[in-house]
Amino acid sequence: MSTTSASPPIVGAHESAIRVRLRRMGETAGRVLSNPTTLGGLVIILLMVGMALLAPWLVEPNTPNASQMPRDWGAIAVPPGSPGHPLGTTNTGGDVLYGVIWGARTSLRLSLIVVSVTVAIGVAVGSLAGFRGGRIDEVLMRIVDVFLSIPELIFALAIAAVLGPSFRNIILALAIVFWVKYARIMRAQVLHVKQNDYVDSSRVIGDSNWNIFRKDVLPNSITPVVVQATLDMGNIVLVGATLSFIGLAEAGLAEWGVLVSEGQAGISGGRWWASTFPGLMVFLWALAFNLLGDGIRDVLDPKTETR
């Protein structure tokens, strides 16, 4: 006796597992991108990431240090459209276009490093706490609580100030502050997923704890982490720019926050370009990742997941 399933038409049996899995991933991606704002966000991201990766070919890298702003002492504070400086220069002769493009590179580096590190640590700690429970959970969560009791920005500020002003230290400070968020998220998800019968089923089958974690718990817990990581790619840059804006990064760095800070003084004199263009970049970067993150969340959130 064979029963018909209520599913889409049954395809031939020579369909392979891989093709089915790929097709599902493609469908999910399609759903994410069917939303115009999400798609817009992705396009902006691709453009900016492209700009970051192709930076050395878009503008001549500065010597000796490409991440320092090149100074053209003959063209101080010239407006956009000036020869050789399409977006103008700062009041120290730094090419704003260079700052915009290399700033993207710096931002990409910042967000990738911080997000990777924080996700890795946070997921590990949160999984351990949620999966093992008991003492380990209590100890780890108390540590997390301590971290969470300090406002992120202040904490990052304090660390960066103590360690000394440098962009590397900003990265470090942000990593130290932001991992707890993922630990919390992951732990909550693991605790929730553990309640499902399929986890018990794997235990009854006799699979090892590590396999159960890897195959049953992790894949079903990771979605909110992915969403948060996407959002954080944008927000980290925002926070980083804030920190460098208030002076915690090296002066003269080709980074958006530094540029906004340096160009501030000129605004009252009508020289808007030195702050505005980098500021716009920060805005666009954060906006784009937020749009993408929201789009992913709308699709992958269990409440809206189709059965």
């Binding site: 399933s5 089923s201 894949p219």
Partner: protein
């Protein structure tokens, strides 16, 4: 069901208890225990279907989980795969107390003490089907992953050989090759249960524990699944432990039944006999409350009262607080007086404290003497069940205090009633047929 000399006992459960601690306060101290399973013993013979019946809070799901190895017992033992002679030896050794014989049997058969190879053997041979077909299948896995998982874990097959075995299993449960590469959400509830069953059978286990496998399904789909389970048992000789609250289903599927109430077995025996002539009042109440089982011209009735707190089970017989046939020997105690008081706000509001010398003997202090006198009068009136009145050995009224002493009785245990039947009741039989 008579045991022959080569009859194997798949599970021998001996005085099994599973308690969960109740923590309270900032320091999370343990203030009590939820006695989910509180002394259960039975044998499960190879090839039979034992039905485990009860309502919510009776402990049947917890019992199922302990037997499946998902939880460790608090005390008592579950012994796996004993021959007839081993089972006899086990009971003898348990009676004699801890000793070499017992230790030897425990090392090789007691589920929570098994070592490597023996544990693997138990694990492979004891599988489970869960109630919720949606949460028992990993939504990110394909059917081929789900059903093939047991085979992968024990490295029984891989690659195309694995796929073929999975297809074979799917066909056994009425699905097919075309379902291999689908996700669980693409199937109906009945089909998902079939997938669950196929997974449980993958390793050809001795024992399958089914925890409410059809409770979430429509009647017509349930019929399909029950037919399938029977067919599989006929052809492959599985032993089933069938946990359910649905009496019509259990009557249909089980050879023997055990009725659970508040952590213990109230009655057990062969299915048809138990249904035709229940001995325990709770069994009778269950039968009477079930619309399928009451004859056409009868109405059906429910049960008064609520299930007592599993952290404080009643004395004597746990069912005495709700039983319509209760006798003075059923375990009437001070808690019953307090329960009655809760329904009389006039007196209850004046209750200042209860000093217990034992569960049967206590002083109740009131804030005024009228209330104390009121209680004493009430205890001798019709407001209180006759059997409870008769169980009072001594009442004395002080200024604002009432001292009460009830007859002390022991826990009512399961006793044999002939024909493989066991019942935990002081009565020999029920006064009237339902």
């Amino acid at each position: 069901m008579t045991a022959t000399t080569d009859q194997r006992t798949v599970l021998a459960v001996r005085d099994l208890k599973k308690h969960f601690p109740i923590k309270d306060g900032a320091l999370q101290r343990v203030v009590g225990q939820v006695r989910a399973v509180d002394g259960v013993s039975f044998d499960l013979q190879r090839g039979e279907t034992l039905g485990l019946v009860g309502e919510s809070g009776c402990g049947k799901t917890t019992l199922g989980r302990v037997l499946a190895g998902l939880e460790k017992p608090t005390s008592g033992g579950v012994y796996f795969d004993l021959s007839e002679s081993q089972r006899v030896e086990l009971d003898r050794a348990l009676r004699a107390g801890q000793g070499e014989d017992l230790a030897r049997l425990e090392a090789s058969h007691r589920v929570d003490r098994l070592d490597g190879t023996n544990w693997r053997r138990f694990r492979r041979n004891t599988q489970m089907v869960f109630q919720d077909s949606f949460s028992s299948l990993n939504p990110r896995h394909l059917v081929s992953d789900i059903v093939g998982r047991p085979l992968r874990v024990y490295k029984e097959a891989s690659g195309s050989a694995l796929t073929e075995r999975v297809v074979g299993l799917l066909e056994q449960v009425g699905l097919g090759r075309q379902h291999l590469y689908r996700y669980p959400h693409q199937f109906s509830g009945g089909q998902r249960q079939r997938i669950s069953i196929a997974r449980a059978l993958a390793l050809d286990p001795e024992l399958v524990i089914l925890d409410e496998p059809t409770s979430a399904l429509d009647v017509s789909v349930q019929a399909q699944i029950l037919n399938l389970l029977h067919e599989l048992q006929q052809s492959r000789g599985f032993t089933f432990l069938f946990i359910t609250h649905d009496l019509s289903v259990v009557r249909h599927m089980a050879d023997r039944i055990a009725v659970m109430y508040l952590g213990r077995i109230a009655e057990s025996g062969e299915t048809t006999e138990l249904f035709n002539e229940p001995i325990h009042p709770y069994t009778e109440a269950l039968l009477r409350a079930n619309p399928d089982l009451t004859a056409d011209d009868e109405g059906f009735r429910g049960l008064e009262g609520t299930v007592p707190d599993p952290a404080r089970p009643p004395q004597g017989c746990r069912f005495h607080t709700r039983c319509e046939y209760a006798t003075p020997d059923c375990g009437w105690e001070i808690d019953d007086v307090v329960l009655q008081l809760e329904d009389t706000p006039a007196l209850f509001d004046k209750l200042a404290g209860v000093e217990r010398r034992s569960p049967f003997d206590a002083d109740l202090e009131f804030s005024d003497s009228d209330a104390a006198a009121g209680l004493a009068t009430a205890l001798q009136s019709e407001d209180v069940p006759a059997s409870m009145r008769a169980a009072i050995e001594h009442v004395s009224v002080g200024a604002q205090k009432v001292s009460i002493k009830f007859r002390e009785v022991n826990e009512v245990l399961l006793t044999p009633r002939g024909n493989d039947r066991l019942a935990a009741c002081v009565l020999d039989a029920l006064p009237k047929r339902y």
